[in-house]
């Protein structure tokens, strides 16, 4: 399990990365944390002709607030969000540190990056699910300069995105601070990719759910938003019976398949449970209200 040969390039600025991508062609890949790319290379499932190491690029390791958006630099390690106690994170984005704890293990979180996760776009990855939940915008730098792509447009299929081969992810801008938000997952073994994950966010006005967002991970090629379920919960009472209705509707809405963990019925049941729990948890754990 040793990787095939490749050319190694080290970049110091985003501009340099994009230029190298353009120069080296389609088989060149960006190397960020390497927690997904390196295993694939060791298995020889990935044969990049060249790697552009961006760990030396400065200025991309940050978490900052710009108005309602939480902007996370591409080279921010998962661990930085996990241990963040900053006000700008706590207010409206308190879910992010909690969600980070679901990502692999401590050494994975020390090395893996938010930008790498978004670029890799695994449909079960926490940041990908949260990008949809928080209506994130992804800022990329391409040969013609920077541009912004909404999370809705970003995820185009299993491990594929709307990015061009010469684009580099610069920043993920999580939008819409939410008072009530939660992510729940289930894996048989601690730290594994989830069999399924459910994330929900909503506001409560007059004991009713408003601005409801529901996203599932692990059930499709992309993190999946469930508009019908959101509509069902919208304006409903913030109570257990609503969560149960949402769970039933979510379970019914997915295209389930069987695997080594269980049959189709199992996967539907699991999704229902996770959605119900996500709602209950989100209800119970209100994020600090925006100042």
């Amino acid at each position: 399990m040793k990787p095939a040969p490749f050319e190694y390039h080290r970049a110091y600025t985003p501009q340099e990365v994009v230029e190298l991508l353009a120069e080296l062609g389609d088989d060149a890949k960006i190397l960020a944390g390497g927690q997904s790319l390196a295993p694939m290379m060791n298995f020889r499932l990935a044969h990049p002709s060249a790697l552009i190491d961006i760990n030396t690029v400065s200025g991309l390791d940050y978490i900052r607030r710009e108005n309602d958006e939480l902007c996370v630099g591409a080279l921010t390690r998962h661990r930085a969000l996990e241990i963040s106690t900053a006000t700008e994170v706590r207010e409206g984005f308190a879910l992010l540190p909690r969600a980070a704890r679901w990502i692999g293990h401590y050494p994975i979180r020390s090395r893996g990056t938010v930008g790498g996760s978004i670029a890799h776009s695994d449909p079960t990855a926490e940041w990908c699910i949260l990008a949809r939940l928080f209506d994130a915008n992804i800022v990329v730098l391409g040969v013609e300069g920077p541009r912004t792509i909404s999370a809705e447009d970003w995820f185009t299929g299993f491990l594929t995105t709307a990015a061009e081969p010469t684009d580099m992810v610069i920043e993920t801008r999580f939008g819409r601070p939410r008072t009530h938000a939660a992510l729940t997952e289930y894996a048989r073994r601690r730290g594994d990719f989830a069999i399924a994950a459910a994330a929900v966010a909503f506001d409560i006005e007059d004991e009713q759910c408003k601005n409801v967002t529901v996203v599932l991970g692990g059930v499709a090629g992309v993190p999946l938003r469930l508009p019908e379920v959101e509509a069902l919960v919208e304006n409903s009472g913030a109570d257990e019976s609503t969560w149960k209705d949402a769970a039933r509707a979510s379970a019914a809405s997915i295209k389930a398949s069987s695997d080594l963990n269980g049959d189709e019925a199992y996967h539907r049941h699991l999704v229902g449970s996770l959605v119900e729990r996500a709602f209950a948890e989100a209800y119970a754990t209100a994020s600090q209200a925006p100042a």
Partner: protein, 163 residues
């Protein structure tokens, strides 16, 4: 044609200059080029953690990093823990609590735990259990490992408080 790079890295306080092929992993660099065979390879895809080392103080899987990426960086391996003949507190605790049997995974667990201990944790058992879940051991059932890390966490905290 080999794609090789001249790399300067500091391992356990000692600087080395090496000519490395791009694809050589940090684990192989340590083991084969520097003869530091305490860092073991158990899966080479980031699950087992036997190759865990500290890169600039942070715990990482040495099988998922290329040696060339350690250029200009500081790496700590299991060989750095003892002070001459004197085992450090964590090494002693692993032995005292029977936290190892075949010993193959042990260097990874020690380095993972060292990183965790450097965050000045309370030694909460559930938290320790979660942290050491990063690595796999096939012999011990983990109980001795958890006991050892909890004990050292408490002892180091007390020491800090006393000082």
């Amino acid at each position: 044609m080999k794609d090789q790079h001249l790399v300067t890295l500091t391992v356990n306080g000692r600087e080395h200059e090496l000519l490395l092929e791009s694809r050589r992993t940090l684990a192989d660099t340590l083991r084969l080029d520097l003869g530091l065979t305490g860092t073991h390879l158990g899966c080479e895809h980031g699950i087992c953690g036997a190759c865990t080392v500290l890169l600039d103080g942070e715990p990482v899987r040495a099988c998922l990093i290329f040696g060339v990426q350690a250029d200009g960086r500081h790496v700590r391996t299991v060989e750095s823990l003892a002070d001459g003949d004197e085992l450090n507190d964590l090494q002693q605790a692993f032995s005292r609590h029977h936290g190892l049997q075949c010993g193959f995974c042990t260097p990874g667990f020690l380095m993972l735990s060292e990183a965790y201990l450097s965050t000045n944790p309370t030694g909460d058992r559930d938290e320790v259990r979660e942290v050491v879940s990063a690595n796999l051991c096939r012999c011990t059932g983990y109980q001795g490992i958890v006991d050892a890390v909890c004990e050292v966490a408490c002892a180091r905290r007390e020491k800090t408080t006393d000082a």
